[in-house]
């Protein structure tokens, strides 16, 4: 009896364990896919940055921040970022709404978020 019970328990444990492993693998795969798409966004954003932003905000986003904003210190505020990129700001930051697509600006945000200073 004891053996039977323990056998059943073992079977349940085994089933749960298998399920858990399967679901863990599934989750990990999804994570990986997610990571990959985030990385693709960052890479794409990095290329757009190099082409359009680096001549004011510094190659690789390294910038003293004295002349133009150091984007590594930009607040975690995507709405403000998208608005500023599209509309420009204070006659200093030029507007980019007619050149950069929404997807490109979203990818730029991914790149900037990846470089944020803690």
């Amino acid at each position: 009896m004891l053996r039977e019970v323990s056998g059943k328990t073992a079977a349940i444990f085994a089933a749960v364990a298998v399920l858990a492993i399967v679901s863990m693998v599934t989750v990990r795969a999804a994570d990986e896919q997610n990571d990959l798409s985030v990385q693709a966004q960052i890479d794409h954003g990095k290329a757009t940055y190099a082409r359009n932003c680096s001549h004011c905000h510094g190659p690789n986003m390294v910038n003293s921040g004295a002349i133009t904003p150091d984007l590594r210190a930009f607040p975690d505020d995507q709405t403000r970022f998208v608005f500023t990129v599209k509309q420009g700001k204070s006659n200093r930051m030029p507007p980019w709404g007619d050149i950069l697509s929404d997807d490109e600006i979203t990818d730029l945000w991914a790149y900037i978020s990846s470089r944020r200073r803690p």
């Binding site: 190099a50 001549h55 690789n60 004295a66 002349i67 050149i99």
Partner: protein, 554 residues
């Protein structure tokens, strides 16, 4: 009645004569110590003054007379002009006339441009100054317009659009008035443009001529480009040329080819990284000399072409000098463009020397590898052995004083596709610098004929200021950290400095008025080094543009 008319006529001639700068005055600009009439303090761009009230002994008593705020926090690279006690100076956003003695503003005329303009400005939001002629102030605007203002009132008299910002063109250059023609250059070689120099009628603004710096296939030199590459070939002209009135020839430096990735554009790529000798009336090319054929490293040659008469191998020679961005100091015969000498004035590893017979560089594997797409470490970097900031030449001692750069760079090409109004470079911008230890720049006293350094004043953060030298044995320069400095021209010893409140990228000038020698310089930084170097030490240096004027303490 007749008498009254004559009197009015005379009064008009007298007042007009007093306010209008003539061609003759411009020709004598280099020796006119009471005015600063030309960019470069003379058609020869020597930036040298015979004044000596401020000298090695007295410079310690130099104090500010006044400061004038530009109400602007961009890079202030403008050279002030001075005529009859009035200073004319520019920023990207305004043109100003200021009383030279009191610092009081006489007039200020704002410059407006579309908010999209900075998208296609590679290296700082700037303007380099004005030109004066016949009672008018001429300048360019960031959105590629050339304008003329009334020198008395600042009122706009005419305006001409030279090119379209949507295609990547912009303007920062100070115009040159030579032989009665206003000459202007163009910026934008980083954005897939095709460079040119324009001639304008000073009275009306009528466009007189345009000489492209990139020939079309049917023009001489057109065979140095393959296919359609000439259409995006670059060749900016954003530094004012020099002018020899006797030879009636303008010497104008030509910028980098586009894109940087040289595999895209096989051939020598004339007239990029070259100097053109032009007839100012027609824009016709008299001769050319190319410093760096098919250049991958942004060794543009826009910077000042300095003119002097010197003895070369015992022969009095009319020369043209250029401390080229590629690291070699060139001396050419300016009557025919023949190379006389070329010697390195900083560390160079892309070429072992310049062949004096062919005039071409003897390239190393660094250049070959770079063209083949391998990552290389190259000296000088893409900022050059000397960037745009103008040197000074003292014709009395034959020594040139230049702010030079002491670092290399990493270089690797990338594929590139053209899109109007965006970077067109084809280079990895994520890993640019080979700083090394030690100072990143030196103010150097250089012998033009040997390239050898007589003395050097190092600087951790390199200087990007123009240089001025005087018969008082003093050399003026400035630091990106704000110090305006005076050095002993013979020893390089620092004699004096003053903190101007922001970094200096301006062009110092000097003149004498009512028995007092003045020195003026614009302060306010934000140019190419502060934007591209990632030098975070500059975080402690505030922006903020203003004009400082100094004189000896009474």
């Amino acid at each position: 009645m007749k008498r009254i008319a004559m009197a009015i006529g005379l009064a008009f001639i007298v007042s007009h004569g007093a306010s209008a700068q003539t061609s003759e005055q411009l020709v004598k600009g280099a020796t006119d110590t009471s005015n600063v009439l030309n960019y470069g303090m003379g058609y020869n761009l020597n930036r040298f003054s015979t004044l000596n009230q401020i000298n090695k002994d007295t410079v310690k008593n130099l104090v500010p007379v006044w400061n004038y705020s530009f109400a602007d926090d961009r890079s202030e690279e403008s050279q002030p002009l001075v005529y009859q006690g009035v200073i004319y100076v520019t920023t990207h956003s305004a043109t100003m006339a200021i009383d030279a003695k009191t610092g009081k503003q006489i007039w200020k005329t704002k410059v407006e441009y579309p908010p999209e303009t900075p998208r296609i400005v590679c290296c700082g939001i700037i303007n380099r100054g004005a030109a004066l002629f016949d009672g008018k102030v001429f300048r360019t605007t960031l959105d590629a317009n050339v304008i003329a203002l009334d020198a008395k009132t600042g009122k706009e008299l005419w305006r001409q659009k030279a090119a379209d910002i949507k295609e990547g063109y912009s303007m920062t250059v100070a115009p040159l008035v030579a032989d009665g023609v206003v000459l202007t250059g163009i910026s934008g070689a980083e954005f897939g443009t095709r460079g040119f120099i324009d001639g304008w009628d000073p009275a009306t603004g009528k466009h007189l001529w345009r000489t492209h710096t990139i020939p079309s296939p049917d023009e001489p030199g057109g065979d140095t480009w393959k296919g359609d590459t000439w259409k995006l070939g670059g060749g900016s002209t954003w530094i004012t040329g020099s002018y020899d009135p006797e030879l009636n020839t303008v010497y104008w430096g030509i910028g980098n080819p586009g894109p940087f990735n040289s595999a895209v554009r096989p051939g020598d790529n004339l007239y990029t990284c070259a100097v053109l000798a032009l007839d100012p009336k027609t824009g016709k090319i008299k001769w050319h000399y190319q410093f760096s054929p098919n250049n991958p490293f942004d060794y543009d040659s826009v910077a000042e072409m300095v003119l002097a008469d010197m003895n070369v191998e015992g022969k009095p020679t009319k020369v043209l000098m250029d401390a080229n961005r590629n690291g070699f100091f060139y001396v050419l015969d300016r009557t025919n463009g023949k190379l006389l000498t070329a010697n390195p004035y900083v560390k160079v590893n892309w070429a072992t020397g310049i062949d004096l017979k062919t005039g071409k560089p003897i390239e190393t594997d660094v250049t070959k590898d770079a063209r083949e797409g391998k990552k290389v470490t190259v000296f000088p970097s893409i900022l050059g052995g000397k960037n745009w900031e103008p040197m000074s030449f003292n014709p009395q001692t034959g020594i040139a004083y230049a702010n030079t750069l002491a670092f290399g760079g990493h270089y690797k090409t990338e594929p590139v596709t053209y899109k109007a109004g965006e970077w067109y470079l084809g280079m990895d911008l994520t890993d640019l610098w080979e700083w090394g230890d030690g100072p990143r720049g030196h103010l150097k006293a250089i012998d033009p004929l040997t390239g050898k350094t007589k003395w050097e004043a190092p600087s951790d953060i390199p200087r990007f200021s123009g240089v001025l030298s005087t018969a008082g044995g003093v050399v003026f320069s400035g630091q990106l950290t704000g110090e305006f400095e005076a050095f002993d021209a013979d020893s390089g010893k620092k004699l004096w400095q003053f903190q101007t409140g922001s970094g200096i990228e301006g062009q110092p000038v000097t003149w004498q008025q009512d028995g007092v020698q003045y020195v003026a310089v614009a302060s306010g930084y934000g140019g190419v080094y502060s934007l591209f170097s990632g030098d975070e030490r500059l975080a402690k240096v505030p922006p903020g543009g203003s004009l400082w004027v100094f004189a000896l303490k009474q």
